[in-house]
Symmetry: C2
Subunit: 341 residues, 2 copies
DNA sequence: GTTCATTTCGAAATCGTTTTCGTTAATCAA
DNA sequence: TTGATTAACGAAAACGATTTCGAAATGAAC
């Protein structure tokens, strides 16, 4: 029951291991006759090259690492799907790790992947990630690294993102266009670039429309496991603090759905009393009542694009060429539904 | 920028590679002084053992494979999370693949994982999987294999499941207990064991309560990407076919939510006109209106249990002991909400 | 028959670790 | 002093595939 090796094939045919190896890889200096013999025997013996040995020789494993803050999340699982699908097309396998939004774990996991000598790393940063030494470690080893969605602008590597600021601006503008006069914002955690950008887009839209920016209208949520609850809580708090608010731009759909639920329970009418725009276009947002206006964020495409870029860089590395970093910005779209007029 | 090797450390200290290797692994035949020297230098040079070489020597990669029908799915992503978390604790990495409910892909992916020589495989079968040669290939290579959720009873390996039949029975009984007289069933695809079992549980509950089993009340859906739409369609069809139905037991929450949406749109009152019980306890089922009574299916725990069993078997294999197969049945629970009286 | 090119193959080094089995030198017992 | 034991280290053989560099054998050309 031992796995078949090149040596076994060689012995059976009374030729050398070298010849067997070359025959299987169609080297030009092996006769057609020998090739046919070797290939046939390899077939019948069900020979599979030992990946460990191949990896050691070629110094690559055809495996990449993926670090994600949270797997159980519609957007991220779509990204995973995109990455895995694209990777498989190119013959790559994907090792997946979850940082749980923890900086410490993220660091450890990067080290794990480096030790495993994956050919490249894809990462979406944890909320808690404040410094980037672990990421620079990756680059220092000349290992391709592509960040997506939650990125660090300061790290010199390729990035796949959306224009969060523009999308948030559009969302807010939509609230303004539909008649909202006093617009609140439920923002994400403080560190992530995208929650900063969404906040800035919101703010800029207000100012461009000559509406005052009022910091007390900005509520924070961590957007972790408890997003739904956070949405409810923020909504409850908002009703206490500011009865005059008539529109909210919310950092993610899950939080928005929490808020909608709270408003429904309290008898606040959406969109008559308060209009809401979410972010992500999670499937569920089209299903709840009222359905949620939101920004469509293409998760699957983001995964695909991220892997494609990583693949390019891995090729460039193999060809000893310089690695060319790129910043890829995917298109978003405003989806108008019942939660806005 | 070359990675540090044992040889480099050995050269710098003027000792042999053997000694360095042993020192790092605390072999008893190396003096404390040498160990200290070696470890210190390894530290400062930031030595990381070459995983490829280690794999080749030890014949294990500390990596397992995971094949799942669909990543973007609340239940499955919970399972993934459970597996990844548990694996990381034991120092294992997880390679993830998605079969897209396709038998052909599943076969290919098993081969991929075997070629990669993962230490073990976790799998939840695709709907289309009808024969099990590819699975037996795994077992024939003495490679631990654990199936979960969507299993094949005929394959001789460990399994982690719930008692689908019992859970479905409970769900149906609950409908009966709350006064339903004519109960339909939206079942899953024909092949998967769990959709068969849920159907059988439904049927048995009817018969045990002296209610007639009417095949025309059983609707099929594939429970793939289009679950929500299938739920709507089935609901629409049901309203045309059988106006007297007052309860439905539905194979999965997503389909159930589709059905609820359709009923809401058509002005059918839930639970007054029709009661509904779903399956999975997807997060969203507590949020929609009316909230959905359902069976809680512990995804995260299932992932944890599946990896734990695989880990046990991998240990048994290392200790040259026989592999002991186990069937682990996790508890489910009926969650009563607004969609039933 | 000599020279040169071509075809076909293999020996051996290599990738970086692990592990077996010696070997040396020192220590101890008698 | 001799023999036996122990402590500390290294040489070398794996693991299985890849690849470089020759070497032999054949054929062609003169």
């Amino acid at each position: 029951m031992k796995p078949v090796t090149l040596k076994e094939i060689a012995d059976q045919l009374n030729i050398s291991v070298t010849t067997v190896s070359k025959a299987l890889k169609d080297y030009p200096d092996i006769s057609k006759k020998t090739k046919a013999l070797v290939k046939e025997l390899a077939q019948t013996l069900n020979y599979k090259p030992n990946a460990f040995a191949v990896n050691l020789r070629t110094k690559e494993s055809k495996t990449i690492g993926l670090i994600i803050p949270e797997i159980v999340h519609h957007f991220f699982s779509s990204v995973i799907k995109g990455i895995v699908a694209q990777a498989e097309k190119k013959g790559y396998l994907v090792i997946i790790l979850q940082s749980n939004e923890s900086y410490e774990l993220e660091k450890k996991q990067i080290q794990l992947l480096l030790r495993q000598r994956v050919d490249g790393i894809l990462i979406s940063l944890a909320n808690g990630t404040a410094d980037y030494n672990h990421l620079n470690d990756v680059l220092a080893q000349d290992k391709p690294l592509v960040m997506f969605d939650k990125i660090a602008k300061l790290v010199k590597c390729s990035k796949v993102i959306i224009d969060d600021r523009k999308a948030a601006y559009e969302a807010t503008q939509h609230l303004i266009d539909t008649g909202c006069k006093r617009i609140a914002h439920f923002r994400g955690a403080l560190l992530p670039q995208n929650s900063i950008d969404r906040f800035l887009g919101y703010k800029k839209a207000l100012l461009d429309n000559n509406m005052p920016y009022d910091p007390s209208l900005v509520y924070i949520c961590q957007c972790g496991d408890q997003s739904f609850e956070e949405g409810k809580m923020n909504a409850r708090q908002l009703l206490k603090d500011h009865k005059d608010v008539d529109g909210i731009f919310i950092n993610t759909d899950m939080v928005a759905i929490g808020a909608i639920t709270e408003f429904n329970e309290q008898g606040i009418k959406i969109p008559e009393d308060i209009s809401i725009v979410g972010f992500s276009n999670w499937f569920m947002s089209s299903v709840i009542s009222p359905s949620l206006s939101t920004i469509d964020q293409p998760g699957y495409e983001m995964g695909k694009a991220a892997f494609k870029q990583l693949y390019k860089e891995m090729q460039q590395l193999k060809n000893k060429g310089p690695i060319v970093y790129k910043e890829i910005v995917l298109e978003t779209a405003l989806i108008k539904r019942q939660s806005t007029k």
